[in-house]
Subunit: 340 residues, 2 copies
Amino acid sequence: MVTQSRFQRPPQCPHLIGVDWGSSSLRVFLIDADGEVIASRSSLEGSSVLQGSASAFQASLENLAGDWLADFPEVNVLACGMVGSQHGWLEVPYVACPADSAAIARKTMTVKDVGGRRIAIVPGLRCDDGAGRADVMRGEETQIIGALAAHPEARFRSCLVLPGTHSKWAQVDDGKVSRFATHMTGELFAVLRQHSVLGRLMPSTLSGESSRDPLAFLRGVDDAQTGAHLGLTQQLFAVRTLGLMEQLSKASLADYLSGLLIGHEVQAGLSWRLCAGLEHSPLLVVGDTQLCGYYAQALTQCGVGQFSLLDNTAARGLWSLSQASDLASVSAFLIEEKCR
Amino acid sequence: MVTQSRFQRPPQCPHLIGVDWGSSSLRVFLIDADGEVIASRSSLEGSSVLQGSASAFQASLENLAGDWLADFPEVNVLACGMVGSQHGWLEVPYVACPADSAAIARKTMTVKDVGGRRIAIVPGLRCDDGAGRADVMRGEETQIIGALAAHPEARFRSCLVLPGTHSKWAQVDDGKVSRFATHMTGELFAVLRQHSVLGRLMPSTLSGESSRDPLAFLRGVDDAQTGAHLGLTQQLFAVRTLGLMEQLSKASLADYLSGLLIGHEVQAGLSWRLCAGLEHSPLLVVGDTQLCGYYAQALTQCGVGQFSLLDNTAARGLWSLSQASDLASVSAFLIEEKCR
């Protein structure tokens, strides 16, 4: 019957407006009944510039997707990411691990936009290690759900790496996110480059990004491995001395720093994976293509040969979560009727 | 004969104007023939605000010690620290380790101030690990020389810790600095507090410094030890989650971060000391009293019971270096004559 309705309705009839609202960017997706993205748009109006103001969130969403909201009034809107944080549109409490898509979908909360349209917001996840240490994520839970939809073989048991400002290493068992760990690698890179003595020898960001030095990056990864006993506070100072002693060109220092930090994370992450007994389970690296490429190089350098690279899976995750929630099924009938 | 001249000359006759010129501060010392400090002054005109301008360095020194320079025209002036760096008054090339006070004193270089007075500047040290990694210090070599003068038993073989923006762990053999390692602990603390997400939950610097939480500091040291396998990029994120989950009060987060970073450094430093076979040799902790106090707590927490704490030993080091240089002995006769 579902299959039949696919053939009866016009192609590309929107069934969901997905919103991936992180700290530094806003992306919207128009998604059809098969979970395929019909259209997508993005802006730089991330939650961090909106300062927790509901009207600012409303205005940003209207600016980017006002026509979609008007054209498809029955279609659900589901948003994930920092939009649900303390300084977001509405704070949606974290769901405790282990949690699967149904558990996450059950805890979505809704706000209303200017036109009274309900926007459902996905909760983040928290996990406790039992020894007083908690960890949290917002947005990555949706990417994980999307990645598991794209790689069903990883649902049983797998390790997922989501590189970023705050990288996540997550363990999945039986379709549930069991536990995860955050590494603030991306942010460390940014603050060290912009605000520390290490950035002083580097060319300005604009000219520096134009040409990368893959060998300097790999040297950083290598030094992170071989010099792990030195401690990161010491290893980082090598960025300065290599520059001072002209053992590395100034243009290559940022790549070396990036390799050092990503290498440090990957090494700690692989130990974490080993301790969890996940070394023979699928390893998925999910996120921005260029950044995942660096993680792929670091993983290879650290002797890991088998892993899958996935582009950002937020849209797919939002679709899966909308399918797992009751709200979706309620409105699905209305949409089907209209699209016939 | 030296002893006799001590009794003949007026007490407290200046024999050296010592200058400890770091990145963020300038301190001057009037030192007598026994190496005792007669008077000292300080300003915040560190080398980093003077931007490598010779006239700015001249003006700063004149402002702080112009009367001394005028009153004691034959007394040598010896300066150490970032004043000798690339962006200092004059770049004085690093001396390679192993190096003792004589080797360092031999490589001082001089500039002339407005009145034509010669200012001798102490070189920094560099050490190479033979595997392409170099490390550097400027200013700490003088403090090490001063510490060895105060603790002669440490000259044979010892480990020195100099906490700071860029902490140093140094090995001494036969009066020579054999090798050393830099940890950018202090700077990491500052940039993470001021510019990262970790600082966002902390009270502003001014109100935050007023009351410290020693237990939060020790918890940080403890977590650095027990969670070392997690990697520092991950451990740091705990500062955020402990605050978010209200497991630690916002006022205590800076102390926890400090404990985490100092604990990480101390743990790596103690491994370094162990690898060098220095665990039964004297351990000296040299520098700012309050900061050394934190390192003392961290060392104790890490099971190290025996160490000596020394206040900043720059003045004593400058005196020792002036004695080790030929210049000092040349002018000594003139000073003695004048003070009779």
